[in-house]
């Protein structure tokens, strides 16, 4: 959180070296591609240790089950790069699913339109609180987490009613596909490509990085702070709603209990992928590696058989802590070289 001036002074002490130092290059590589390296190592390990791991079918199942988290994590990546956090995405994911199932009575348009409009609007509202009223992102989205959950329970008779997906075309969107992969997987890839283009090749992307890197400087450089932030939370809400809707299509119903705690997985995936929690640096390839890493860990734990899924939480918690510690150390190394 806030670092004292005394400390800042100490750390900002020396940054004179102009040439690239080897320590820095290594630490940057680790930061940006660490998740990918660990993912690769895990895949190699899994293939050797379990016969059933290496097959195409298993790989496809990892991809399919990871795609929903991936879509949420794309939005979260933008939020975290901008220096914020969005704790409401888990609730929005569930709400999106319930609304999609409810809306499917009006066909595929209702099934997709209803969750996108509602979740997008909630994201927009949170963005306004954060950017306009300058309230802390964490407390606003924490209230969002609660409030959205309340709304979801209110429209599902306290979770007692599970709406079924009535529209066949919509259900097919979540269940069918080609080449052994479902549509959500392809959609994830598409969204990821669009996201990378947004981040790297548009003024909006530059603004997101600039705000996360140094908001005051960004304002002086002419970056539209409020508009950019509102847009970022709007996107995050929209993507969480979309992921929820697709998940409902896959399950043919708007399940009210799945998705609790999804915000934590999304944040973990983003951070493991090398995006700095303090904002200003990161990217979507890392996030995708982070999502897959979590998926592979889950899959490997399932392969072992006698380990519960709770074990996966322990592993991701420890992993998250290690990554955050590593980030702190790496950033110190980078400053001191």
């Amino acid at each position: 959180m806030t670092h004292s001036n005394v400390m800042a002074d100490r750390e900002g002490a020396a940054a004179p070296a102009a040439g690239p130092a080897r320590g820095e290059t290594v630490s940057r590589l680790l930061q940006q591609h660490g998740a990918l390296m660990v993912l690769f190592a895990l895949i190699v390990f899994g293939s050797v240790a379990f016969d059933s791991f290496a097959g195409g079918e298993n790989a496809a199942s990892i991809a399919v089950s990871s795609s929903f988290l991936a879509i949420v994590a794309i939005g979260m990546t933008f939020v975290i790069i901008s220096g914020g956090i969005d704790l409401s995405v888990g609730s929005l994911f569930v709400l999106g699913g319930v609304l999609a199932a409810y809306g499917s009575r009006a066909g595929i348009v209702g099934a997709l339109g209803l969750p996108l409009v509602v979740c997008g609007a909630i994201g927009l509202l949170q963005g306004l609180f954060i950017a306009r009223s300058r309230m802390a992102p964490f407390i606003v989205t924490l209230a969002g987490l609660l409030g959205v959950r309340g709304i979801m329970l209110a429209i599902s008779d306290e979770g007692a009613t599970t709406y079924l997906v009535e529209d066949r075309a919509f259900a097919s969107l979540g269940q069918d596909g080609f080449l052994g992969l479902t549509y959500p997987v392809y959609l994830t890839v598409l969204l990821c490509v669009i996201g990378i283009a947004l981040l790297q090749r548009t003024g909006f992307g530059q603004n997101v990085f600039a705000i996360g890197g140094n908001e005051d400087a960004a304002a002086l450089m002419g970056v539209p702070i409020v508009r950019t932030k509102v847009l970022v939370y709007f996107m995050s809400g929209l993507l969480a709603g979309l992921a929820g809707a697709l998940n409902a299509a896959r399950l043919s119903s708007g399940v009210t209990i799945l998705g609790i705690g999804l915000e934590l997985d999304a944040i973990a995936a983003v951070v493991i992928g090398g995006t700095l929690l303090t904002g200003g640096a990161g990217g979507l390839t890392g996030t995708m590696a982070g999502v897959l890493l979590l998926g592979v860990i889950q899959n490997l734990i399932n392969q072992v058989g006698n380990l519960t899924s709770a074990f996966q939480q322990v592993v991701s918690g420890v992993f998250l802590a290690l990554v955050v510690i590593a980030q702190r150390i790496l950033s110190r190394v980078q400053r001191l070289t």
């Binding site: 802390a136 306290e158 322990v314 955050v324």
Partner: protein
């Protein structure tokens, strides 16, 4: 003319907001009580009061720790998971007797807090992230230790959850006692004053030679201990250990209680009694809505609105 009027309105508004932040929570609790006395049948009933107080006790205990952490300009998201961990540990070691099991559960909570505190104070990780990692990892650990709901029959532990002393449930007495202890800690001890000073101005505290890192570490340890205690009490009352759902969303309830109790998120000030009142207010609100046949979902929506309003009011005041 117009300016003078606008200025006076501005001052009045600031004063109203300041008053609301200071006494709003007491006024709200009083208003809700009066409303219930007038409109809710069977509200003025010792049985009902008992139930409400027993339910709110663990929230109060966790909120006390949260108030300390927020006083240092930090946050502890791991409290719910630490409750679950304590629930697991206590049944696992119940075979050695209730007291050793209870001590081990507290130890587990203290260690969890120490890990979070070390990450914050010594590694320099943001509190929200450090405790988020713990939230995920510790919930998993609790589930690994005790995968399913496990009932127990240890009479001492059951007594802890259900006994009363002179008509007052033990759980409530413990919460009251801990409130007194934390009040004492904040007001009367070197440690408590240092906590508030560090939250108020960390640089000045460092330059004044305060042991900033050690105090921060200790604050998270205390939060862990209190959360573990709340976990044991909740488990004792349930007469079963349920690490999967025990303490779920507890961090939200605790943060809400602290924030609407008037402790600013920016640190430098801790209102212990306000925090207790904050927890009571949310409990009362929930009870009122339920008694008037409004569902659980409403409570959550109302809770969200109250958090936003409380933070908004604090922000307005801070800006002046």
């Amino acid at each position: 003319m117009a300016e003078a009027v606008a200025e006076r309105q501005g001052i009045d508004r600031a004063r109203v907001l300041a008053w609301l932040q200071e006494y709003g929570v007491y006024a709200s609790v009083l208003a809700l009580l009066l409303f219930n006395v007038a409109f809710t049948p069977h509200f003025v009933d010792t049985g009902n009061f008992r139930t409400q107080l027993v339910q709110v006790a663990p929230i109060v205990i966790v909120s006390l720790g949260m108030a300390l952490v927020i006083g240092t300009e930090g946050i502890d998201l791991s409290v719910g998971s630490v409750m679950a961990l304590a629930a697991s540990v206590v049944v696992l070691y119940l075979g050695y007797g209730a007291l050793p099991a209870l001590l081990l559960a507290l130890l587990a909570g203290g260690v969890a807090g120490a890990v979070g505190g070390a990450l914050v104070a010594y590694v320099g990780v943001q509190p929200i992230v450090a405790t988020l990692a713990l939230l995920v990892g510790i919930r998993g650990l609790a589930n690994v230790l005790v995968p399913q709901l496990r009932e127990f029959t240890d009479p001492t532990l059951i007594a802890l959850g259900s006994d009363s002393v002179m008509g007052v449930p033990l759980v409530v007495l413990i919460a009251v006692g801990l409130t007194a202890v934390v009040t004492f800690l904040v007001r009367r001890t070197t440690f408590g004053r240092q906590v508030v000073a560090i939250g108020g101005n960390r640089t000045a505290s460092e330059l004044s030679g305060l042991p900033v890192r050690r105090v921060l570490l200790l604050v998270y340890v205390i939060s862990g201990l209190l959360a573990a205690g709340a976990g044991v009490l909740a488990t004792a009352r349930l007469q079963a250990s349920d690490p999967t759902s025990l303490g779920m969303f507890m961090e939200l309830s605790a943060i809400t209680a602290v924030v609407i109790g008037g402790t600013p998120l920016s640190g430098g000030r801790i209102r212990v009694l306000g925090t207790v009142m904050g927890a009571l207010l949310m409990q009362l609100l929930q009870a009122t809505l339920i008694k008037h046949n409004l569902p659980q979902s409403w409570t959550q929506i109302v809770q969200a609105v109250i958090i936003l309003a409380a933070v908004y009011a604090a922000r307005e005041r801070g800006a002046r």
